[in-house]
Structure formats: C-alpha cells, structure tokens
Amino acid sequence: MTRLHLKDFWRYSKQQMEKRNEQRVLVCGGPGCLARGSQAVYEALLDASGRVGGTGTVVEHAAHMVGCHGLCDQGPLVIIEPQGTFYTHVNPEMAPRIYHETLRGGRVVEDFLYSSGTGRRIARYADIPFYQRQQKIALRNVGAVDPEDINDYVALGGYRAAAKALEDLSPEDVIGWVKDSQLRGRGGAGFPTGRKWEVCAQAPGENRYVIANGDEGDPGAFMDRTIMEGDPHSLLEGMIIGAYAVGASEGFIYVREEYPLAVERLKGAIGQAESLGLLGDDILGIPGFCFNLSVRRGGGAFVCGEATALINSLEGRLGEPRGSYVVPAVRGYNQQPTALNNVETFCVVPEIINKGPAWFAAIGSEASRGTKTFSLVGRAVHIGLIEVPMGMSLREIIYDVGGGIEDGRTFKAVQTGGPSGGCLSAEYLDLPVDFDALEEAGSMMGSGGLIVMDETTCMVDVARYFLAFLRDESCGQCVPCREGLFQLTAIFDRIVSGEGQESDLAAVEELAVAMQEGSLCGLGQSASNPVLSTLRHFRGEYTAHIREKCCPAGVCRALTAYVIDVEKCRACGRCLEVCPAQCIAVSQGVYTIDREACTRCGACSAACPFAAISREGCVQ
C-alpha cells in the first residue's frame, strides 16, 4: 500500500464506505463468546458454505470474527447484517441451517432467535430490550468491524476524524473542541480531558508524549480489553488526534500482560496504519506531523494502572507510583509533558471531532457528559458489556438493560468502581450514574465495573475480598497503605471466622481514615472505600457477624453450616459417597451432618439429587 495524502484519503474513505451495504455474517469473538466456542462456529459456517480453497465462497468473503457484541450470557452470537438478524447460543451444528436458510434462502430461523423472558422471539438485535436503552459511542464499531482489517474500519467512517482534524482544525481548536465537549477521563478519576491536553500542550518541554492506559486491572472489568481487541483502530485514531493536539511525536499503548490478543491486534493495526500513512512521518502528507506509536506489555501488577506507576514501568523501572503531587501532563514520561488517558477516553475523541462538541455535550447528565461503558456482571439476568448515557439510573441499568436479578431473587447491592469503589444498597437504585452522584453516595465511577449482588452475597465477605485483593497488589512503598491493608484484612479475617469483637469496627474506621489521608497514591487513598461503604449501608450485617456470630447471607464458611432437610431427604446415600470429611451420620434412616467435622466444602449439597442439603447462615 502507498502512504496516502489527505486528498487520496478522502477518495479511499468514500470508496470503502460505499461498499458497506453488502451482506455480512458477524461471529462474535469477544472473550465470553470465544470461551463458549465461537471460533468453531465460525469454522462451521465456512464449512457449511462449502469452503473452496483459494476462490472462496459467499460466506468466506462475508464472514468476520468481530469483537464483543455485549450480550455475553446469550453467546456464542451470530449476527447477519444488514438485516441485523441475531442468533443466540449458536453451536457448530446450527451452521448449515444458518447458511442454507438465512444466507441463501433469506429466511430467519425462528428457533435460533433470542427469546425474551416471556418466550417472545425477537429477530433483530436492535429490538431486544438489552440493546434498546444503550447508546454506543466508545463501542460504536465493536462487534461490527473486523478488527484485523483497516479497510473495514475505514468503511465505517474510520480515520475521517483524524483527517478532518489535520485538515481543518489547529491543535488549539482540537483542544477547544474536546474542552467544549466536556469529556471527562474514563479511567476513574473523571479529570476533564481537554484541560489535561491543554496543560500538556503548554507545559515547557523538549518532547511530548501521549500514552493510552490499557492496564485495566479491576477484577471483573473488560471494557478496555473489548475495545482494544474489537476495534483497535478507534484507539489509534483517538491517539493520533491527541498527539496532534498536544504536539507529541511519540506514543505508547500500555496493555495489561494478560491480554495477548489485544497486543497482537494493536500491533497489527499499527502496522496497517503506518503503511497507509496514518502513522509515522508526515502523516497524510502533512509536512512535520510525525507520530510513532508502539505497544508495551505490562508485567501483571494492578498498581501499574496508576498513571505515574505506569510511566515508571514504561521507563523500565519498578511500577511504583511517584506520588500524587507529580502531574504527568507537566512531567511524565522521560520527565516530559505527557498526555496519559484511558483507552475509552481516546476512543470517544474521534466521534467528538466527527459530530462536534455540542452533540457530545448534549448527551448525559449535567456534570458528566456523554456515555459510559460498563461491564455488567454478577447476579443480573443479562451479563455483558454495555454503554449507556451518563445519568441513567442504577435501576434502569440493572432492570431495563440487565433484565433484573437472575432466578427471581431480590436485589441487594451493586458494587461500582472496582476494588476501591463502593457498594450501594437498594435505597440508591434511583441514583443517576455519573461521576459526582456516585462519589457523593460513597462509591465511585472507576473504570466501569458494575457488579450486581443479591441476597446470596455477604457484604462483609465482599469487603474482605477487595481488601485482600488490594493488600496483595499494594506496591508497599508507603506505610499507611501497606500496613493498613494488612491490618484491615487481618481484622476482617477474624470477623468472617466468627472471632470479631465489638471494638473491631471502630478500629476499622480509624485505619480507613488514616489510609485515606496518609497514602501516597490513589490505591491506598481509596482502598478503604469498600469497607466504609459497606459499613455505611450494611452495618447490620457486620453486627450479625460480630455479635450473633452469624452470616445472614450464608457465605462466610465458619459461621454457616450445611443442614439436611429431613422432609426432602430420601436417604439415597449420595452424600455419604461424596463427603471427603466423612462427617455425615445415618441413624435409623435419618441423615445428619456433624458440624464440628464438616469442612463446608459443599460437595454433599452439590451431589444431592433432591436439593435436600442447604447452607444456612444463622445456625447456632
């Protein structure tokens, strides 16, 4: 390929966009669908169409493995465009019918369609409630574009924003547009992106850099991964625009080591963009605008998601934070001004350039404009990746988009903001989800994990889980964070094992405040959020653990017991066979579990064919 100049680019873009209306078969290759075997579905579709080596068939040209389509619990998903026909739970055996009936015959196979809670079949994904309430900006192409083909990205309007910025806007204009859009960073803190870029552009320095933060360490979050794997060019385009705005000639994408596919896709995308003249020297033929981009792998440390730790890691040092008084926009990589943003933040920028800042600022809520992606996981009916306008209420997200709580159970809490976020109770269901509202309620936006919990979740256990996670991930530089987390986890270990004391809660609160005030970086400063928010909204559960030595949700092992319901038990003996502790006794046909000897492994309950063995939370 030859490197394009601006004029050639517009011609090429137009050509690609005109080709777009042809039939396409999209097989979801998001992490959820891949895990459910979507690669085999893709192969089966090619086989069904009579794959002929070399020449190819209709399907071979039209079929693409694409990024996550979002509705992971229904996967593997197959979508047929331009109709938008949506097949769920697809397995390789279904491929021949999809090929013959839908692709050749133009008919929809009813049996393969999405079925709503009431059993109604819905043919087009756009009509499924899960999708109806969503608005996709950052995820605009994910699930539609072939992530390995730059032509496909361009056919969806890709790189037009970069070309427009270079042709029509000055760097100051770009910064002005981003400021006017009121875009706030999607990596957690919600810092205004335009302002960050302005500081970076104006700070004195010999070189400037842009860095995309793709470290995504929150356990239970996969938004950035989905973008990097499913639409890598949109990140590249956002970074090109960012580099132009701040005057950077070099950039990095720092990707979590656990995402090898993202690394591969990004490297592939960079190669393609270079050969088209969208990266490298004299981009789009504009003399002097050079931007080189490379991908770096992280080392598997959560703290490296923190901006200054990330920069240390990039420089080949230990990934320890530099302290919050160091502002990367002024003194970042190699001590030079650096615009470091989250992956999603960069991905939104091209749309702001395409559609204008006013368009973006009109979406969302007063202080949080635009949309936000979330990974909606836990006990919701629909689990997957969503993008909704800011300001939508938790209730709308969980019930309208997520379909409510699975198995008809009741909502108990939602956890937002990752390990240093907080848990909100049912009272907060009508809270609009934006940066400030979440923070006021004692939680935070974070990078966008939304974990739904029902009555089978113990909030003390959840707090302990996050504490243990952060204790293991603390870099250990500063005492409040290192020792505070160690002590807090020790106290929580006591509480969940039934050895908690009344004085523990006061100690917990004191430690939490000391960590907030005395820690070096955001990890320690916010590490006590899960503790403080669960204490605030679920104090009763703590006192049950401490005073009554009881775990109402039936989760904390030492406080619960397995009990056999004599009414349901048919004395079949399955539990005797599986119990590794041999703690089940039979006397005159009545089965009982010896609580002292029981290790609460749950094997008996899992094996019981009559569901007669359950775990009880409050047994003395």
Binding site: G30, P31, G32, L34, A35, R36, C68, C72, D73, G75, G217, D218, P219, G220, A221, F222, R225, T226, E257, E258, R296, R297, G298, G299, G300, A301, F302, S313, L314, E315, G316, R317, L318, G319, S375, V377, G378, R379, I383, G384, Q415, G449, I451, M453, T457, V462, Y465, F469, C601, G602, A603, A606, A607
Partner: protein
C-alpha cells in the same frame, strides 16, 4: 552455552535502552517458562544497568518468575464475578487435586496453578482455564473430572 547465546540474542533485539528490560524479560519468560539467572547478568551488561534493578523487576512483576513454570497453566479466575459465584471453592478443589497452592507448580512440573482477575468471561462465572480451554460454571466435581482426564490423556500419549 547454547542457552547463553540464545539469551543474548533475545536481549540484543532490544538494544541498549533500559526501557526495554521488561519486554526482554517477557520474551525470556515465555521462552524458558522462567527467567534463568544468567539472563540478569546479560541484561545488566547489555542495557548498562545494575543487576539488582533487573532482579527487582523480576520479583516485582507477577508475570515473571525465577522458578520454572509448569508445562501447562491452569488459571482460576478470582475476579469479582467469579468470586461471587464460588471461585474460591473451585480453587481449593484444584489445589487439593494437584497438591499445590495457587502460584505454585506441581512436583512433576506438569501444571502451574495461577489466580487471575477476570478473564472477560464473567457470564460463565466461575471460570477455570486449563491450558487454552475455558471451563465455565465450574464446580468442584467438574474440575476434578477434568483434571483426572487431562492427566490420563497426557499419560496415554
């Protein structure tokens, strides 16, 4: 000797810039399933840094290890979604079957057991990945059967 030459050529790809220590270490780790001691000297010499700096990186980053890793990795997701759905019990079962703790390698060098945080398949929580194959809605029974089968498969080869 062969190892030394090979290590040198891996490190040489990255030149003298110490920024690339981590990248070089990643390549070494994936080639040898650990970082052999001589690699520290080679990197220190080539990139003109102290050996202690290279050592500290290996000990800091979870992706790197001095201990050789097993032939096959078993990854148990301990992410939030998986935790809520009983990941720790699944992990305990694997630890019991393989007689190792998370982070360790079996005595025969066959498996390494790792805890990971969210593999993006939360809709199938809890998730265990054995080699490259994903196991969703994992239970104690299921992982025991899988590991038993996996073991006998290897033997019959």
């Amino acid at each position: 000797m062969k190892e030394l030459t090979e290590l040198r050529s891996i490190v040489d790809k990255y030149g003298e810039n110490p920024e690339y220590i981590l990248e070089a270490l990643h390549d070494i780790q994936s080639r040898y399933r650990h970082v052999p001691e001589p690699a520290l000297d080679i990197i220190a010499e080539r990139m003109k840094v102290k050996k202690s700096r290279v050592f500290s990186l290996v000990s800091f980053y979870k992706a790197l290890s001095f201990e050789p890793q097993g032939e096959k990795n078993i990854r148990v997701c301990m992410g939030t979604a998986c935790h809520l759905k009983g990941a720790s019990q699944v992990k305990e079962e694997i630890e019991a079957v393989l007689d190792v703790a998370a982070g360790e390698t079996t005595a025969d060098g066959r498996y390494s057991l790792h805890e990971v945080n969210c593999v993006g398949a939360c809709s199938m929580a809890p998730v265990v990945i054995i080699g490259d194959s994903y196991e969703g809605q994992a239970t104690r029974d299921r992982v025991r059967t899988l590991l038993d089968n996996d073991g006998s498969e290897e033997e019959s080869r």
